[in-house]
């Protein structure tokens, strides 16, 4: 038995979510078998794709058979494949968790259960479409699918705070997309192409209009990825949404915007990145790392803490820019991609476990969480493992990622960035340690008949966290051989 072709797998990955979502919506019921079958199929497709890419490397697919500048291309890059894979894992975990989480909730939550899965699948489809896209405008549309689905998911929790956060998120997301589109307009006006390869071939790095376009693309994506001074929408949206939603948003949606930044700056715009610009982006990252970390330290609510930790972690990822300008890009980019993957798995696990803990405790306050007892201990275990991955303790994926970045920083003699990274790691230590300390020291009794924590509420988070920890061994081994599997520019 041979695996399906890469093209077939990509088609499955991008169309199946949309088709399944439409079917679910139209049928109006919540056939869980269909949902889970779709999620499983998508996961298998992503796994098979990963295998194919491992064997074959980068591949390009023309949609509709139209050649380069006219039609749209899909590019299956190794880094994109990593993201697709992670998306599938988080997506599957979230689907299982969501099915358990929204089950048996009276009142308006019945609506939640019905709408959650179509929206989830839409977001999934948007993400998949984004990770294979190699076309400026197609990316815009995929971004919009992703954003709109995310906003709707945030608004799912019908509380006023959540609605406010959703509104802010929507406006911020649309603002970001609009600025992105401005960049697309400027670049299209200059070169008349949208395709990445064609753009890369034509790009005049000295040209003023192109620079303006690149800046617009970047700023728009920075807003969408909630990078430090523009993180205004993130804590609310991620902190107030329902837990599975937060997991998706924090783990994947933000990462997708960031991935796009990498894809652009180390893809078609590669020649344009100057030392100064890279340093500025790095400074933003440093700010995010410290600022987000300190604020996470200050939070009193569990999910807000996790949300601010996202702000902080993406600051870490931003350090890829300064490190990659001067010196060997490949390990840095590999580190960046691994960082995204690690963050996706660990943060999703953290949010899912947080949701379970909040449900078990009946309160979101960190001081009122139930302790390491009963079934909640599995959630705590997931929290501990995910924390280890986020901090970057060996042998987690986070360690492998930070290792690559650290080594680059050391070999470049970039003490400044090194210090920032170390400080950020310390902060991560601090706020996660504080969480564990408060919760493990002062276990609250929890509601008197303890809520039933079904396996669906426990297993996904635990598996994701385990994956984040275990995959580090593999990734590290892989990296040590000096073989990088991350290429953002295909064909080059």
């Amino acid at each position: 038995m041979s695996l399906p072709s890469t093209a077939m797998l990509v088609v499955i990955l991008v169309t199946l979510p949309l088709a399944a979502a439409t079917l679910l919506f139209a049928s109006g019921r919540q056939p869980r078998t269909l949902t889970l079958a779709a999620a499983l199929l998508l996961t298998f497709a992503a796994l098979a794709l990963g295998f194919n890419v491992h064997l074959e490397g980068v591949s390009v697919h023309r949609i509709g058979g139209w050649a380069a500048p006219l039609g749209i291309h899909w590019q299956v890059t190794p880094s994109g494949t990593v993201m697709l894979l992670v998306t599938a894992l988080v997506g599957l975990a979230g689907a299982v968790y969501g099915a358990g989480y929204f089950l048996h909730r009276p009142g308006p939550e019945g609506r939640m259960a019905r709408v959650f899965m179509p929206l989830w699948l839409f977001a999934w489809g948007g993400l998949n479409a984004l990770f294979v896209a190699a076309d400026l405008f197609n990316l815009y549309v995929a971004l919009e699918v992703m954003t709109l689905a995310s906003v709707a998911l945030v608004a799912l929790s019908a509380r006023r705070m959540a609605l406010q956060a959703a509104m802010r998120y929507l406006l911020a997301g649309l603002f970001g997309s609009m600025i992105y589109l401005l960049g697309v307009a400027l670049l299209y006006g200059q070169y008349g192409v949208l395709d990445f390869d064609a753009l890369a071939a034509m790009l005049d790095v000295e040209d003023a209009g192109s620079r303006a376009g690149a800046v617009a693309l970047t700023v728009g994506l920075l807003a969408k990825a909630a990078i430090f001074p523009l993180h205004f929408w993130l804590p609310g949206a991620h902190g107030r949404a329902e837990p599975p939603v937060s997991a998706l948003l924090s783990g994947l949606v933000v990462a997708a915007a960031f991935y796009l930044l990498l894809r652009l700056w180390f893809g078609p715009l590669a020649g344009m990145l100057t030392f100064g610009a890279g340093t500025l982006l790095g400074v933003l990252g440093a700010g995010a790392l410290l600022w987000g970390g300190v604020l996470a330290l200050l939070q009193r609510r569990l999910k807000m803490l996790v949300a601010y930790s996202t702000v902080s972690q993406f600051g870490f990822a931003m350090l890829v820019f300064p490190l990659a300008i001067s010196g060997n890009r490949e390990p840095v980019l590999a580190g960046g991609t691994l960082l995204l993957a690690n963050h996706a798995l660990a943060k999703a696990a953290l949010f899912l476990a947080a949701g379970t803990l909040v449900r078990a405790s009946g309160s979101e306050r960190i001081g009122q969480l139930v302790g390491f007892s009963g079934r909640a201990r599995w959630a705590w275990l997931a929290v501990i493992l995910a924390s280890a991955a986020l901090i970057g303790l060996p042998p987690t994926l986070g360690f492998s990622a930070k290792w690559l970045l650290l080594q680059t920083a050391v070999s470049q003699g970039a003490w400044w960035w090194l210090g920032i990274m170390l400080a950020g790691t310390l902060l991560t230590f601090a706020y996660l340690g504080r969480l564990l300390e408060l919760a493990l020291l002062d276990p609250a009794p929890g509601p008197s008949p303890p809520p039933v924590l079904t396996p669906a509420l426990l297993v996904p988070a635990l598996l994701l966290a385990l994956l984040a920890c275990a995959s580090g061994v593999w990734a590290f081994d892989f990296e040590l051989d000096g073989e990088t599997f991350v290429r953002l520019e295909p064909g080059s």
């Binding site: 093209a7 077939m8 088609v11 169309t15 949309l18 088709a19 979502a21 439409t22 079917l23 919506f25 139209a26 049928s27 109006g28 697919h61 023309r62 949609i63 509709g64 058979g65 139209w66 500048p69 006219l70 039609g71 749209i72 308006p108 609506r111 939640m112 709408v115 179509p118 929206l119 839409f122 489809g125 948007g126 479409a129 405008f137 197609n138 549309v141 995929a142 919009e144 699918v145 709109l148 689905a149 709707a152 608004a155 799912l156 019908a158 401005l182 400027l186 299209y188 006006g189 200059q190 070169y191 008349g192 192409v193 005049d204 040209d207 003023a208 209009g209 620079r211 303006a212 617009a216």
Partner: protein, 329 residues
């Protein structure tokens, strides 16, 4: 005896032909009033004034598209901008509590650097854009070269439904997603139930409705070889349906629930079936065999157009139609 199109006068931006002063004045005035209306639309003291200004801004934008030789966009802007966007905004305004839609407290004018900086940056960007030096061939020639195999005669339709059909599919997805998102918020909120209207309104709608339907088909048909296509057609259909709703019509009971939802999903579904079916039949995603291209595109166009109409109406409704027993009929 129609006036022959004059290349110098009808072509405001094209290459070496100088524009006639009247044209320049027209454009200047048009754009000036757009800018004024835009400012009003954002900052007018009275919320209603802002909304009306914005609607008028939409009307003028359609004219601007005409000036830019983009009749396709003008059609879409006309049908969406003049029809649904305005209706949506006005309906929303009606749902806001009175004190929230009324006057804004006179603001103390503060000297802020923000507007100036914004303008400056935007201006800089545009200046940069103006100084474009490279010849920008665009994809016009490529599209022209591919037109014989496109299955339609209208280049814009060819781009939308053939060359870049994947974008369009996702975009229909965005629309369906918007419907799901709105419906996920709860049942229809915008459908307030004011008293039955004066008899003139139902009469008007009864008269116009067949015309709406007819024009929808007309625009669909036009889409094959000229400006038109699924978007303006769907928008027009939606406008007709919304008008009927405003005149007191209810969503038919047997349409509620599954049939309505299937109608909403039909456009995206048709797209997906064709795209994946082609993958299965031809081996390439969205690759129309040239001999069947036009019929396949027509099928997609009809399904998408009708579905867009229903989706836009659903967007106006703002929520899943409530049970008819709750209605005030």
């Amino acid at each position: 005896m129609r006036a022959p199109p004059s290349p110098t006068a009808s072509d405001p931006g094209n290459g070496d032909g100088l524009m006639h002063p009247v044209e320049i004045t027209f454009d200047a005035l048009l754009l000036f009033s757009m800018v004024v209306l835009a400012w009003q639309g954002v900052h007018a003291r009275n919320m209603f004034r802002a909304v009306v200004s914005f609607i008028m801004f939409g009307l003028l934008t359609a004219v601007a598209w005409v000036r830019l030789e983009a009749p396709d966009i003008a059609l879409a802007e006309a049908s969406l901008g003049a029809g649904l966007t305005g209706a949506l905004l006005l309906a929303t305004l009606g749902r806001l509590a009175p004190e929230r839609r009324g006057a804004r407290r006179p603001k103390v004018v503060k000297l802020s650097t923000l507007p100036w900086l914004t303008m400056g940056l935007a201006g800089t960007t545009v200046l940069l854009a103006v100084t474009l030096t490279l010849p920008a061939p665009g994809l016009g020639e490529a599209v022209l070269a591919a037109m014989p195999a496109a299955g339609v005669d209208s280049p814009v339709t060819a781009v939308l439904l053939n060359f870049r059909a994947w974008d369009t599919l996702l975009e229909i997805g965005v629309m369906l997603l918007a419907v799901i998102a709105l419906w996920s918020l709860g049942q229809d909120v915008l459908a307030s139930k004011p008293r039955l209207p004066a008899p003139a309104l139902p009469a008007l709608v009864r008269l116009l409705f067949p015309l709406f339907v007819l024009s929808t088909f007309y625009l669909l048909w036009r889409g094959g070889h000229g400006p038109g296509g699924a978007f303006p057609a769907g928008a027009l259909l939606a406008a007709g349906l919304v008008l009927a709703l405003l005149a007191g019509a209810q969503v038919p009971e047997r349409m509620r629930g599954a049939p309505l939802r299937w109608a909403l999903g039909a456009g995206l579904f048709a797209f997906l079936v064709v795209a994946v079916g082609l993958m299965w039949a031809v081996g390439t995603f969205f690759a129309y065999p040239p001999q069947h291209a036009s019929i396949l595109i027509a099928i997609i166009e009809i399904a998408a157009g009708l579905s867009i109409g229903v989706m836009l109406t659903a967007l106006f409704l703002g929520g899943e139609p409530t049970d008819i027993k709750g209605g005030g009929k």
